[in-house]
Structures are given as C-alpha cells and as structure tokens.
Amino acid sequence: MIRAFADPFDALFNLQRALEGRLTSDWLHGQTTSQGPFPPINVFQQGDDILAIIELPGVEKDSLQIEAKENTIRVAGKKAVSYPGGVSVHRQERTSGEFDRTMSLPVQLDPDSIKAEYRDGILALHLPRSEREKPRAIKIS
C-alpha cells in the first residue's frame, strides 16, 4: 500500500519499495507470455479497477495496436530507432524492433469500457472490471 505523500523524497522511496515488493508477485500466474517479455508491464489496482502501465519510449502512437477480449489484453507494435546517414555512432543503447505481448488477467474485464492513453512514452490501460465481478454488499434478510 502506498501512502503518505507528504514528503516527495519519501514518497518516491516508498513507491520504489512497493514496486519492488511486487516483483515476485504471482498475481498473473505467468500468464503474460506471447512473443517475448517486451514491453515491461506494471499492474496496479485503482479502486475497483485495474490499471496497467507500460513503458514504451519512442514508440509512435499510430504504430500501437491494442486488443482486448474477455480478460486478455494484447499490445503489439514497433519501436523504431534510426540514424541519419553520414554520422559516426558513438553510443547505441536504445533497442528497436517489433513486439507483441499478451497478458491474461485473473479478473473479468469489461472490454467495451477499456481506455488506453499514451503520453510521454507511457501507455496506460484503464481496465474496468466487469459489473458482474464487482463485489456487492449483501443484505441479511
């Protein structure tokens, strides 16, 4: 649980620790495979819904393909890195290529109300849980 954002430095440290603590989580039960583990995905809970945050720096919005079906999300696209001709390359750390990744969530989603947002090289997928799945208060009659 992330809390206490009063001090921004503490906030970052706490967030980093919270993220690290979930690195070994088996929440997805290894159900994310498709064609390679790129791009890296973080999954958060936001109220009742799920929020997946994917780092995709330098990927053009138009080259991204997102598909949803039942509880499965697929993200595919191409990351291109190019250099102008006639230059000498000193350092080459950025990777490029095609990616295709599918993950199955252990919850039922509402595919019609999934929202995707791409900004500053981050893809955020808002994945609302289907109404049937949401917990209901049960009255004792």
Partner: protein, 132 residues
C-alpha cells in the same frame, strides 16, 4: 520474421555516483544513443514518463548533464499488484569531447524520448586542408 529483431527488456541501470545522494530513493540512467556529425553531436535519451517541463539540461566545463524528474502524483492511490520494472527520476552525465556552442543547443521531447542537438563551435569543426 527473420529480419526483425525481437525486442528484449532492458534492465534499468542505476546511476553510479562518486558521492551518495542524501535521499534514499533510486535514480536511473536513461538508455542513450549518441552520434556525431561534422557540425553537431546528437544525444538521444529515453526517459519514459518524464514531461517536457521536468527536464533539466546543463552544459558546464565540457560536461553534459541531463536530469528528468518523474511526476509522482500520477501514482497516488495506486496499489501495485504485479510489477516488472521500477520507476524513478533519471539522471546522466557525459564528458564532451568537442567544444559545444552552448547558446545553440536544441532540445526536443517526444514520446518520452529527449533529443539533444549540440552544435560544435566553429574551431571544433573538421577542416579540409589543401596542400599547396
């Protein structure tokens, strides 16, 4: 598919400073491409999640310093369920081999990628010398 290279996840590298920071939070090194043309040096840094307004670029004493700060407010109220990468601010420094005209540095941020064009000063540009 033989011609396309499969993308692999790059593990984020933490910066290694001579001095320790006073805060415990970790800072990461952006993946960087550098190439040199006759008139300029181009530096491209990947800093996903960093907004244009949170980038600081500094050239001093032949060193280029780039910092990118992450907006933490976006992560407020989120509870991690499953994670594959950590997040943090970015920082990286390079020693520049050629003299740079500081007044003409151009920076552009797009899709989390910062492109810096560092034009060389006139004396540093290569010259062809005619043999008489």
């Amino acid at each position: 598919m033989a011609s396309t290279q499969e993308l692999q996840v790059q593990k984020k590298r933490e910066i290694e400073n001579k001095e320790e920071t006073t805060i415990p939070a970790r800072i990461f090194m952006p993946a960087t491409d550098i190439y040199e043309a006759e008139d300029a040096l181009t530096v491209i840094l990947e800093m996903p999640g960093v907004e244009k307004s949170n980038v600081k670029i500094h050239v001093e004493d032949g060193a280029l310093n780039v910092e990118g700060r992450l907006e933490l407010a976006k992560y407020r109220g989120l509870q991690p369920l499953y994670t594959e990468y950590n997040i943090g601010h970015y920082s990286r420094s390079f020693r520049l081999s050629s003299k740079i005209d500081q007044s003409k540095i151009a920076a552009e941020m797009k899709d989390g990628v910062l492109s810096l064009k560092l034009p060389k000063i006139e004396e540093a540009k290569p010259r062809t010398i005619q043999v008489k």
